[in-house]
């Protein structure tokens, strides 16, 4: 029973990271119908930036803030420079462009930072917490991870729901033509969507890198799991991405805990395939099938 509790709570912590990556993918997918294969690589790069800043300044939080800000900027710049020319082209073009970006960013990171594994600090202690004498399988840092992603998700939800920028984002995502008719500058709105995705992705990179170590391809498997989380949720639904991430995190942690941790990546891919076969439109998606 103790084991079960530990695996569950530990899974929630991992799941929140997948949820964050999933959320960043949903943000872009909703606005542009583009799946950003370079989302993980972008997060890797901003985490390297964080590491550099943390090393220089000695402050985790300065590095944390700089990474989030650079995620915001990176997302906006990539949309403006690389994505804008292929928007509204054949759906294959953005696929090729974002995969190209993935390779490019990982290459650049390798040139600048080298290929070796680097450890990345946590925000809080990783010592396991206990309820009385019962180990919970989670640390203060795990609580921080969950709280950070939840806060980011709630902030995004509030932005979408209560602000003019959020209304523009929703209008442009659902019906770009109608939005333009009403004077919404859709180009700017898409840039904002990518910037927010870059920010959330950067957060995921910061939160997961203490566990995975940091190296140029360190986010690849996290991207696959984040994508799976988003697909479970239906790719269109921010809430779906969070729930999908939690389901995935907990399931994988059971698989790792009971069956052996080597099986986790296998189970991740198996989960993706299973979801795509059984319910390709996801648990939360209202949209219909679309040809890609």
């Amino acid at each position: 029973m103790n084991e079960f509790l530990q695996f569950t709570l530990g899974g929630v912590s991992f799941g929140m990271v997948y949820a964050a990556i999933g959320l960043s993918l949903v943000l872009i997918w909703r606005g542009t119908r583009i799946l950003n294969y370079s989302q993980g690589a972008m997060a890797m790069l901003t985490t390297y930036i964080a590491l550099t800043v943390i090393t220089r300044t000695g402050s985790y939080w300065v590095g944390f803030g700089v990474a989030l800000a650079s995620g915001l900027v990176l997302g906006a710049v990539i949309e403006r420079v690389v994505i804008r020319p292929v928007e509204n082209k054949s759906p294959l073009n953005p696929v090729v462009v974002t995969i190209g970006l993935l390779v490019l960013i990982e290459g650049i990171a390798g040139i600048i930072y080298g290929g070796q594994y680097r450890s990345f600090p946590t925000a809080f202690s990783v010592t396991g917490l206990h309820a009385g004498s019962v180990p919970l399988g989670i640390s203060r840092n795990d609580l921080f991870v969950a709280a950070a992603v939840l806060t980011a998700a709630l902030a995004l939800a509030a932005l979408f729901r209560y602000t003019s920028a959020g209304l523009r984002l929703r209008a442009a995502a659902f019906n770009a033509y109608a939005a333009r008719l009403l004077g919404v500058r859709v180009g700017r709105v898409l840039t904002l969507g990518w910037a927010l995705a870059g920010l959330i992705g950067a957060l995921a990179g910061l939160l997961v890198s203490p566990d995975t170590f940091l190296y140029p391809s360190s986010m690849d498997s996290i991207f696959v799991l984040g994508f799976t989380a988003a697909v479970i949720g239906g790719l269109d639904s921010p809430v779906g991405a969070i729930v999908g991430g939690l389901i995935l995190g907990v399931t994988l942690n059971y698989a790792g805990g009971y069956l052996g941790s080597n099986l986790v990546p296998l189970f991740g891919l198996a989960a993706l395939i299973a979801v795509l076969m059984i319910r390709p439109s996801g648990l939360f998606s209202a949209s219909h099938s679309r040809q890609v």
Binding site: S164, L167, R168, A171, A179, R180, L181, L182, G183, V184
Partner: protein
């Protein structure tokens, strides 16, 4: 509502690929009047509105709102300049609520929250049906309700010129009458300049001040609406009634 404006289209040539849908088209919509643009399918009516609102780039010619040239500007900028386009097929954002649809229209105004709420309240007063449906998803509205929503939403941008593309299309006769009454009231109460594209020439001419007939991309008649309606040969030849 701001003061009425004149919209002039001068020698516009526009089309898609090798096909010219508009060939040297000139029309004038005088301030505070309704101008009907009539003609058969493929006459270029919809292209004319899309060209005015910036979705189709004219290859030649000028489009002026009072003094300002709008030709070759982006659609977002043209609506900001004061020309609102209600396209055929209605372009309701079905995933948003009725109120959110209206609020998107109000975003364009630079004023604060209070001003926007008042604009919303005014709209609900004018269209009680929308007030009742305000929290419903716009996708659940009927065809007539959607048409009223998109017109009301376009008005939220505070246009000086309203372009309406086939507002009666697919609607029951009773609702067509309501929509035509609404357009008439808008002109009378707010001094809005309206360009009304219609296949339903009879009901369009009944409320219009001026009529323009297009045929395969060219203007074949431009006349006082009453005179157009009385011109039997023209009616039979181009308008089918």
């Amino acid at each position: 509502m701001t003061s009425a404006a004149a919209l002039t289209v001068e020698h516009v040539v526009a089309g898609y690929g090798g096909v010219l849908a508009l060939q040297d088209v000139s029309i004038t919509a005088r301030p505070g009047t309704i101008t009907a643009v009539l003609g058969a399918n493929g006459a270029g009516k919809t292209t004319l509105l899309a060209t005015i609102s910036g979705f189709v780039r004219p290859r030649q010619g000028q489009i002026r709102l009072d003094g300002t040239d709008l030709a070759r500007r982006r659609p977002e900028e043209i609506v900001r300049a004061g020309v609102a386009h209600v396209p055929e097929g209605q372009a309701v954002i079905t995933e948003l609520t009725v109120e959110d649809n209206l609020r998107v229209g109000a975003l364009l105004q630079q004023q604060g929250r209070a001003e926007r709420s008042r604009a919303l309240a005014d709209t609900y007063q004018r269209f009680p049906m929308l007030a009742k449906a305000r929290h419903r998803s716009a996708g659940t509205l009927s065809g007539g309700e959607r048409q009223i929503l998109v017109i009301a939403r376009a008005l939220m941008t505070r246009p000086r010129v309203l372009l309406l593309d086939e507002p009666s299309l697919g609607l029951a006769p009773k609702i067509v009458t309501q929509i035509m009454d609404l357009i008439l009231r808008l002109r009378d109460e707010t001094g809005l300049t309206v360009v009304l594209v219609e296949q339903n020439a009879r009901s369009a001419l009944a409320i219009s001040d001026h009529g323009v007939v297009l045929n395969v991309g060219r203007v074949v008649a431009t006349e006082d609406a009453a005179l157009l309606a009385a011109d039997e040969a023209l009616r039979r030849h181009y308008l089918g009634f």
